[in-house]
């Protein structure tokens, strides 16, 4: 038996959150706690970007909640002057699900890392994505375990030599974007810690999306995995390593043609996948135009497979997918609100009636 659960009108991710009319600054979002990441850690850049981005949301600060798990990145909530919870390893999506479902007026963020989200917390991550709870998950991917001092993570490349894999890691890594698309996440994006402009643009789109927004942030760990993203950060190589995804635009990268603005490499759809060809050899209509709103995630998935699994010398960056689907929390609240609206009388009277329902008898 299935019941039509209705489809509440889709809204922006922050629509039910009270707004703040006056100006806000990044400073107001900065707590008084000393930031304790290693010098040069990519987390600093993300923190700065988030602190300066949050005022742009124009929300009341007290209605913003950051939840994290365990790991270097999970210290994040302490450094923001919002409500926050630094919880336990891997469980932040479940805690955030409770918060977001209980309260429609909160803007909920999860900060997590590759170990926290993809290893110990893998189950909660995929279930949050399939439920489409209204929250934004920032997954800081440094492809290593930092807090426990340098073990391979679920995104480390095969053969990675670490303290727990002196002969090379045997684990095949997850591609977080492929995983999220496989779980039918409604918003999937990837960005880079060192590209403030791109990062901020993705954060804005993620916050505006109603549903679970999944954002993978490539983040450098200078202590245990320095240089993991050099190919996409180095000015010499990055144009050839980064495949920018912009909705509606043809997907090209590499050396830019001054007149067309297109890169010298282009993506074309081939059978079930996508392939990189020389732009010069392609017909214009053959070049794949990025459609983030495609209800079918297959093409986005095919694009996500272009990410190199070992040394990151090629990777799509941007919003892979952004589609509308009713959120779990909106539907859950609608069921409760509809049920409440369908009854009369005070809770006390109705509880009295409930307790006295069925076969009762009187004595004395």
């Amino acid at each position: 038996m299935s019941i039509d659960i209705g489809t509440p009108s889709l809204r922006s991710g922050t629509e039910l959150v009270p707004t703040f009319d006056g100006p806000q600054t990044g400073k107001e979002y900065t707590s008084d706690q000393e930031v304790r990441w290693c010098p040069g850690c990519g987390d600093y850049a993300v923190l700065k970007a988030v602190q300066s981005f949050l005022p742009d949301l124009g929300l009341r600060r007290e209605n913003i909640v950051f939840v994290s798990g365990i790991g270097c990145s999970s210290r994040f909530p302490y450094y923001l002057d919002t409500y926050g919870m630094h919880s336990i390893h891997g469980r932040a999506p479940s805690i955030a699900t409770g918060i977001a479902t209980a309260r429609e007026d909160l803007n909920v963020w999860v900060v997590t890392g590759d170990g926290d989200a993809l290893s110990i917390g893998g189950n909660h991550l995929i279930h949050a994505l399939r439920r489409n709870v209204n929250m934004t998950i920032l997954l800081f991917n440094n492809r290593i375990y930092g807090l426990t001092k340098g073990q391979y993570s679920p995104t480390s490349e095969v053969g990675k030599v670490t303290k727990t894999s002196p002969l090379g890691s045997l684990d095949h890594p997850f591609n977080p974007v492929s995983l999220a698309l496989g779980a039918e996440a409604t918003f999937v994006a990837r960005t880079i810690d060192s590209d403030r402009k791109h990062l901020t643009g993705v954060l804005a789109a993620a916050a505006a999306h109603r549903g679970t927004s999944f954002v993978e942030i490539y983040q450098n760990c200078p202590i245990f995995n320095d240089g993991a993203f050099d190919a996409i950060k180095d000015n010499e190589t990055k144009d050839h390593a980064i495949i920018p995804l912009v909705h509606g635009e043809p997907i090209t990268f590499g050396a830019k043609d001054a007149t067309t603005g297109m890169g010298d490499k282009a993506l074309v759809r081939t059978g079930g996948g996508v392939e990189v060809i020389d732009t010069a050899s392609a017909r214009v209509e053959q070049i794949l135009a990025h459609d983030a709103h495609d209800p079918d995630p297959s093409t986005a998935f095919a694009i996500s497979r272009l990410t190199a699994a070992d040394y990151l010398n090629r990777s799509p960056i941007g919003i892979f997918r952004q589609v509308e689907r009713p959120t779990y929390d909106d539907l859950a609240r609608a069921q409760v609100n509809d049920a409440k609206a369908s009854v009369d009388g005070t809770d006390t009277d109705r509880l009295t009636k409930l307790l006295n329902a069925g076969d009762t008898w009187n004595i004395g």
Binding site: P77, S94, G98, A102, N123, L355, N356, D359, T360
Partner: protein, 655 residues
């Protein structure tokens, strides 16, 4: 007709319905219970069923049974040994006949006594072939061998059902027969069937016909010459209903929401025998109850903690294996000092253990099953109906003291039922959440000496509870988490002295709950007892029944029962020291007795059984009797009030 039947007065009867898992014995027992409840008897039930949904048909492991004890007076247990066994197949007979006292009645459906079914049950020969012979294996009992199935099929043939479907109504035939035999009212069952099979008139017709045919069979056949009458019980005046523990607990959670004004948020993962609570609460969204069926046990408690942080009453329901998985998250709730209800409907362990059977072996897990010094209050209901009040009490502690609370029910309470005097909602305690609304600390920067900042760990001096400031409250933004907190301000602190202080403070907060508890009630009617029997949870019934037996036999014994296992009531130590001997019956290997010994240096003597079934009152009475003998230096013989025949029955309390 009925004039030829004799009517015999009884004060109590124990009936056990037993059959294959698919025979509908739970439903039959439940209907008979409902009829008896409406009739006004006091009653206690004991459902007992296999973990498999459809265990191999006809086998011993596939037997499902439902025992109901009903009486004209206040009773406490489902009874040790049934007076009547209804056995629907050979396996049901074989699995249960050993529990019957001499002289018990057996009503057996002969239809399934085929070679194949006898083999499956492990009978080399058909025991019914020897009825009345010198070597009759059932010679000690009054056996009524009746083709219940055959008569059912005959009675329902006008409905044109398949033979298989027709035979399925045999449980209603049996119910009709027993309802006649004990003069039960039939309207509740008729009404129930009409509701259940509203959409299938043929099935409804067949069930009603089978039910009526069973009744008429009793009335007309010469097999049954005696009808029994058990008068309504004299119970405290009020409105009653029959209720199971899981239903009462569910209603208690709703009541906690109503009385605190907080929305209830249940995060839960299905697990036997706790799932009914999730089923039930999912129906009551109109009370502002949100239920989330989580992806696993950890997510269930995680979502509940999140909801509590956001200002709901977070609840998670599970059984022992689920508590093991939730332990780390419960520790987080201890550290973050958020209200949280953790319901453990205990079952036989360890590991997957006995999913459908009862046990109370999670006390140590509830008490100590977390890393670090992580004290959690523990509340335990003592009877199915009491699950309601226990849930409200657990919520009071959780909300008032900002702490996770473990509510320890068990499989017997969960599925067992009893008449429950329906409380008035207005008489339930009001639970005040007292959300923080403004700054509570004066900083150095404060111009006027008024509080100008919010310290999330600045405590109420009386309860030691910290403020509960929920998101959306301007000016009270703060961060909490699993790392150690600095006293007062709540920032991360690794300072040695602060950690020592915080560990002691969290413990002191839990200890302080004892100040809010009522004095412990001790039942010591003569005031001369030297032996105290103390228990917790669902052993209340068997312990009470055992004490009644001992007193009937003329000896003195005192009884008390703990609702609060952590902290203990303040007067418990003095009470224990007032007796020469302390006996602690438990369905584990001595968990409460260890705690009592550790806390009070008292020689708590264990009485421990882990059958997956409630303790048996007569056996326990003998153990109490022995201890009374030792304590008073006398010879104790409980006679018929112990294990000796004929009165292997639950005693009424002494007037």
């Amino acid at each position: 007709m009925s004039q030829t039947k004799q009517v015999k007065q009884l004060d109590r009867v124990i009936i056990r319905f037993a059959g294959d898992s698919g025979d509908g014995m739970q439903l039959t027992g439940d209907r008979f219970t409902q009829e008896s409840a409406v009739f006004g008897n006091d009653l206690v039930t004991l459902p007992n069923f296999p973990a498999e949904i459809r265990a191999p048909q006809g086998t011993l492991p596939g037997v499902s049974s439902f025992q109901v004890h009903f009486a004209d007076h206040d009773i406490l247990t489902a009874g040790d040994r049934p007076d009547v066994l209804v056995a629907m197949n050979p396996a049901a007979l074989k699995a249960n006949v050993g529990d019957l006292p001499k002289g018990a009645a057996i009503i057996v459906d002969t239809h399934d006594f085929t070679k194949r079914n006898l083999d499956k049950a492990g009978y080399a020969t058909n025991p019914l072939d020897f009825l009345g012979d010198a070597n009759d294996p059932l010679g000690e009992f009054q056996v009524h061998a009746v083709d219940l199935t055959g008569m059912t099929v005959e009675a329902v043939k006008e409905f044109g059902l398949s033979r298989k479907d027709a035979a399925r109504a045999k449980n209603m035939f049996a119910l009709g027969l027993l309802s006649w035999m004990y003069g039960r009212p039939t309207e509740p069952t008729t009404k129930f069937l009409e509701g259940k099979f509203k959409k299938s008139p043929d099935i409804l017709g067949a069930n009603l016909a089978a039910f009526t045919a069973g009744w008429n069979f009793g009335e007309t056949t010469e097999t049954f010459v005696v009808r029994y009458e058990i008068k309504p019980a004299v119970l405290p005046s009020g409105t009653y209903r029959n209720i199971t523990g899981n239903l009462a607990l569910s209603y208690g959670l709703i009541a906690a929401g109503v009385r605190s004004g907080l929305p209830v948020f249940l995060g839960s993962y299905p697990i036997t025998p706790a799932t009914d609570i999730l089923h039930e609460l999912a129906k009551h969204k109109s009370f502002g109850v949100t239920t989330l069926q989580a992806e696993d046990e950890i997510a269930g408690v995680g979502a509940a903690i999140g909801a509590s942080f956001a200002g709901s009453l977070g609840v998670t329901t599970t059984s022992g294996p689920g508590i093991a998985l939730k332990s780390e998250a419960i520790g987080l709730a201890v550290m973050t000092e958020l209200p949280l209800l953790v319901v453990d409907v205990q079952r036989g362990g360890p590991s997957t253990g006995l999913p459908t059977k009862t046990e109370q072996a999670d006390l140590m897990q509830a008490m100590y099953g977390r890393n670090g010094e992580a004290p959690v209050p523990i509340v335990a209901p003592q009877s199915p109906g009491d699950c309601f009040a226990a849930a409200v009490e657990a919520a009071r502690i959780a909300i008032t003291y900002r702490t996770p609370v473990l509510l320890l029910s068990d499989g017997y309470l969960a599925n067992g039922s009893e008449p429950w005097m329906i409380p008035s909602v207005d008489d339930l305690p009001v639970i005040e959440p007292n959300f923080a609304t403004g700054p509570n600390h004066v900083s150095a920067k404060s111009a006027d000496g008024e509080p100008d900042e919010f310290w999330p760990y600045l405590r109420d001096p009386e309860t030691l509870a910290r403020p509960w400031a929920i998101p959306g409250t301007a000016g009270l933004e703060h961060r909490i988490g699993g790392l150690e907190k600095g006293e007062g301000h709540g920032n991360i602190s690794y300072d040695p002295a602060n950690h020592d202080l915080m560990v002691r403070t969290r413990q002191a907060k839990i200890n302080a709950i004892a100040k809010s508890l009522p004095p412990l009630e001790v039942d010591d009617p003569s005031g001369e007892a030297k032996v105290l029997v103390i228990g917790w949870g669902s052993t209340y019934g068997p312990i009470g029944a055992a004490c009644r037996r001992v007193r009937r036999a003329g000896y003195h014994v005192a009884q008390t029962h703990l609702r609060h296992l952590n902290p203990f009531p303040q007067d418990l130590g003095a009470i224990l020291k007032g007796y020469d001997k302390v006996l602690v019956p438990e369905m584990n290997l001595g968990q409460l007795s260890k705690l009592l010994r550790a806390e009070y240096l008292v020689d708590a003597i264990g009485y421990n059984h882990v059958y997956g079934l409630p303790l048996k009152a007569a056996e326990l009475a003998e153990a109490i009797g022995q201890l009374v003998g030792q304590a008073e230096g006398i010879d104790v013989d409980l006679g018929e009030h112990g294990l000796n025949p004929p009165a292997d029955h639950e005693e009424a309390p002494l007037a």
